[in-house]
Amino acid sequence: MSALAVQVRKYRGQFTGMTAHALQRATGLFLLVYLFLHVRTIHELSKGPAAFNAALATFHHPLFKLLEIALFGTVILHALNGVRITILDLGLGHDRQRRMFWAYAIGLGALLFLAGAIPLFLSAV
């Protein structure tokens, strides 16, 4: 098996810990892209209100409303899993790391996501 195939298999999410690790990496990259766009947009303020309003107008497109909801979910997942990782790094909860991921990061995350995503979606419609 090639070295690349071995790497892909490792990130297949066969185990919960690996799934959580891969998701944390993926959400982190997504947030990095968002952060760049965010700073880039805010920077338009330095060019005056007209330029800033023009930049903001781009985000009125329905696609960006959906991306906003996706961003909300990404932040929740990254934050809750980040708390899980912090707890694990303190040497606590190693015997329940799977439960911490599925019950808190995913379960609680899903509840928080629905609580925020539904109003976001309805305000966009």
Partner: protein
């Protein structure tokens, strides 16, 4: 239950293949030796057995961690190990942890120095828990690394 109809058989990862499914454990044991795995007693010439009381903290806290059979499964499963030749790997760190927890062992400084290395030491662990998941002796290796 395997929950699959397909079983994929391959040599242990992160280790050089000698032939077919046979791999060399030399890299695994090279890392193992770096943590001074042998017991370093206070008095090497002592004729008295250095016993550890059954009720001591060492006996209470490390029962399962002493079961390592150096199979290399954790080394093969580790996601960090697959991208870092320098990382010690879960088994070696677990062994170092055991020796550090042993009140009779004096080689603390040299082990801490190795474990504290930026590229090889405990800081490389990303708590993926692959090592803990594959260990046939159910040793909580990530816990040893975090400790």
């Amino acid at each position: 239950m395997l929950e699959t109809d397909t079983i994929h058989v391959a040599p242990l990862a992160n280790l050089p293949v000698i032939k077919d499914l046979v791999v060399s454990l030399e890299p695994f044991f090279a890392q193992w030796k770096r943590v001074t795995p042998g017991f370093r007693p206070a008095d090497r010439e002592s004729k008295v057995l250095a016993r550890i009381p059954e009720t001591s903290a060492y006996m209470r806290q490390t029962p399962s961690k002493r079961d390592c059979i150096t199979c290399g499964a954790c080394y093969a499963a580790c996601g960090v190990k697959s991208t870092s030749g320098e990382y010690l790997g879960p088994a070696a760190i677990n062994k170092a942890f055991l020796r550090l927890m042993d009140p009779r062992d004096l080689a603390v400084k040299e082990r801490i120095e190795v474990l504290n290395q930026e590229r090889a030491g405990v800081w490389r662990c990303h708590t993926q828990f692959n090592c803990t998941a594959v260990c046939p002796k159910s040793i909580t290796l990530t816990d040893s690394i975090a400790a």
